[in-house]
């Protein structure tokens, strides 16, 4: 039961989202150019990243208009990826602390942030 013509939307939808993607990219670049630091930097980077990703998947890749079955099958498994990320972050942090404890602090390299 294929939908022969696909669900067509006015091209203006894509144009608006396209413009938004440029705007978010510009803001992302500005975060680095204006040298934001710390929590502000990370939260802004992540915010614009997820906004861009969301619009690309939802609108450009048409997911917003797909049936829930397809949405779930594609979008739920990456949640498992998030679990992996959390686990690996915990382990990497432990590895770092263990290295410090057993090998000592390294003399800081001449790289300033």
């Amino acid at each position: 039961m294929a939908q022969a013509s696909g669900q067509q939307h006015p091209i203006s939808v894509y144009m608006w989202i396209w413009g938004l993607l440029f705007v978010f990219s510009f803001f992302s670049y500005m975060v680095d150019y204006l040298d934001f630091q710390g929590a502000m930097r990370w939260s802004l980077i992540l915010l614009f990243m997820f906004l861009k990703a969301g619009f690309i998947v939802g609108i450009f890749m048409h997911m917003a208009w797909e049936r829930l079955a397809l949405k779930m099958v594609i979008l739920a498994p990456p949640v498992a990826l998030c679990v992996l990320i959390v686990l690996m972050a915990v382990e990497a942090d432990y590895t770092f602390l263990t290295r410090i404890e057993f090998f000592g602090e390294l003399a800081p390299l001449a790289v300033h942030h």
Partner: protein
């Protein structure tokens, strides 16, 4: 007709969560999309896990390294005679990929309107943007390897693991972009030649190719954020 309507939902599938049950318990097919589209989505899901593993590995390696990580805005800065502009090449590459996503979305739209000529040129434009992107990435690699001395096992700027993670992640992404360029050009020429017109005027293949291309852009969004900005 009214009797059937009492017990038979006919061809109308319920929406929402009841729709999930209806879809998965259907007797002929689960996903109410062309099989090519479903299969492309499944492939993209697997690719998400591939890139997810690479990016997670990068995170682990960077967090666990005692050495300071090279500062991307300094490593990837270009100077045009005067002050170095941080990340300018990467910013241009990002804009190029976003432009290509826009031309691809327009190509899909034109495909469904059966405008073969516009579809071809928009897909060709998308591919051209892709070629520009890979060329700039190749330039970046050359600069890092030849001028900056970055190797997979060491570099003069900071943690030794920077090179391997950078080349692995951007290398795989660049490979996907290159494969996408070829894929787009193959489909575009088939559209132009009228192959899909002969097959009943079905241009879903343009949308399917579009899904792959948008995925390539999507991966770049994450690489841009996690590798270059962080």
């Amino acid at each position: 007709m009214s009797e059937a309507a009492l017990t038979d939902t006919g061809d109308i599938l319920p929406e929402g969560t009841r729709g999930i049950v209806a879809d998965f318990s259907a007797d002929k097919q689960t996903f109410q999309v062309p099989w090519g589209k479903a299969m492309m989505w499944f492939f993209l899901l697997s690719d998400t896990f591939i890139f997810g593993c690479f990016l997670t590995a990068y995170m682990s390696v960077r967090m666990a390294a005692r050495d300071a990580w090279p500062v991307p805005s300094e490593v990837f800065a270009l100077s045009f005679g005067g002050e170095p502009i941080p990340l300018i090449l990467i910013a241009i590459m990002t804009f190029i990929l976003i432009s290509s996503s826009g031309t691809m979305a327009m190509a899909v739209n034109m495909g469904y309107r059966k405008d073969r000529n516009k579809t071809f040129w928009l897909m060709a434009a998308t591919a051209a943007f892709g070629v520009m992107f890979v060329s700039m990435q190749a330039f970046e690699w050359t600069k890092l390897i030849v001028e900056e001395g970055v190797r997979p096992w060491s570099n003069p700027m900071g943690a030794a693991q920077f090179g391997s993670t950078f080349f692995m992640i951007t290398g795989f992404h660049g490979l996907h972009v290159s494969a996408g360029v070829i894929y787009l050009l193959v489909i575009a020429t088939r559209v132009k030649r009228g192959v899909y017109e002969k097959r009943g005027g079905n241009y879903e293949i343009v949308e399917i190719a579009g899904l792959y291309w948008h995925f390539v852009d999507l991966v770049w969004v994450f690489i841009f954020a996690f590798f270059y900005l962080w």
